[in-house]
Amino acid sequence: MLGYWLIESGEKERLMELLRERLIECGWRDEMKALCRSFTKKKGRENVTVDDLVQVITPKGRASVPDSVKAELLQRIRSFLASAAL
């Protein structure tokens, strides 16, 4: 239900934007791009689908998100919950 509320209020959109910005700033997106490139090089361009790439980089991506980014977003969600509960 929380997810539903987040989207409904438009907060999810804002959080996504914030997350995108932070991940670009810290170089995470570039790292993921590099991973995709090396995977595509290995397999060959014609033999890779978007789904493959998503499957390959998701675990690495989740693991390499900086703690500061996680903390900031958690804080935002907490404040949102607090304001929504009122």
């Binding site: 539903y4 989207i7 959109e13 934007e17 700033e25 170089g27 490139r37 978007v50 789904d51």
Partner: protein, 553 residues
Amino acid sequence: MTTRNPLYTNPKPCKHLSDYKLKHGLNGYKCLQKCLKSTPNGRTSVEKLNTKIPNCSSCNGYQGRLYFCMICSSISCSDHSSMHTQSKNGHDIAVDIERAELYCCVCCDQVYDPDFDKAVMSKHIIDMPSTENGVESIGERLCKRKRLDLGTDLVDSKKSRQLVLMKDPRAKSCYPFGLRGLNNLGNTCFMNSVLQALVHAPPLRSYFLSNQHNPDTCRSRSADRLCLSCDVSGIFSAIFSGNRTPFSPVQFLYSWWQHSANLACYEQQDAHEFFIAILDGIHEKEAKRMNQQRENGDCQCIAHRVFSGQLRSDVTCMTCGFTSTTYDPCVDISLNLDSSNHSLTEVVNKPGKPNTSSSSSTLLGCLDLFTKPEKLGSDQKLYCQNCDEMRDSSKQLSIRRLPLVLCLHIKRFEHSLVRKMSRKINSYLRFPFSLDMTPYLSSSIVRNRFGNRIFAFESDESDVSTEFEIFAVVTHSGTLESGHYVTYLRLMDQWYKCDDAWITEVDEGIVRASQCYMVFYVQKRFYHKANENLSCLPISPQREPFHSIAGFC
């Protein structure tokens, strides 16, 4: 930095996409346009009009990627997309809702169609609001990380500076080769400053010092006609002769007056105008000499080989989104100052309220401004091929090809025809010593405008290096009527101030704090090669007695 594949071509559509196109053509795309929505950041997504939260018709899930069927408009999640196409024959092509990208449910992969991207982008352009000051510029964002790295560079340069200061200050002959003052012949500091910068442009230096333009064999000169290139060659010889006493470039001045008769006087001139004139002079003589009238090829004269780049101009119709592109050559880039802190009305600082408009001006900010889309006024309507009418348009500039030496000219002299007055803008502009031009290339600008849309990738840019190092700054101090030009040169990572006849070693802090007017950057590989060459040359061919007249202080 990854190299671009020059042979990039659009990916071929899969069988299912081709079948869809054959059956439905562009109708589906046109209907989809009504459902598209763009955010100010440039992200386009599909926003269905009935439900706010899209969910999968099979499992009601709303997380992860959701695909919107182009034929029946039903929504499936990534787990159930193949199920949909199995149950409904021919319902293969869908659109990723969050990203507005085509997806083939049979191939389980993203597919690409230039027509689809065109449809998306046309809607996108119409939706996009004008970028406000709040949105961080693309250049700034991409360079943020690079700027954080600069911290370590500064520390190292401090150490090397200490080593330099420990050297014996009396040993002036330890100055590198090619530093020689130029006497002021009567308000000719505009000329001296530009000459100092040109003499130390690595590709120009290599060309003239290797005698590729030989005054003895020059045809123009032997026919008793003056040749600007010969005189430039003369300047090089004089400066690199090893003689440290200040040189008077009389022959050159005389020659230049012949070339630009309308500027022949002892009044102060604009250094940038002089720079353009001298390149033009070299080009004229060399082009005649080489007898080249190549229309489609690039001019091979040394001036153009070194300074010539190419700009791309995209004009977009605000009604239908159609964009037309033109290319123009350029020998330098003139930039307007980016911040609003040069307005004549001062904004009073209310206590407690930070003045947000007083952010400092940076060179990168000026480049961002240069490549920002500009909405042309309704009095500047342009013809749109698609609409067959004059329409409101927006224009965006970008750099298609970078030159070997990049001259960035800061427009500090404002001439207002309306108010019939001219004034100089004195605001400080922060400029970097290392410059990566990637964000301002046509490929970057176009890609940022259109996201990863396919047709934007079709570029024929060759693998070119975009990293530049500064080697000279021409600065201006004073007012429009009475001002003074001074050039700072960077040789072997040490800065020297060239103030007419006086050459002094200076701290890089002085250079950073100066009021730049023309900033000269050279491609990184040339900069390092030039440093190598300098360090191989003898520091001074002969030990000369130290002259206490105007020269090295």
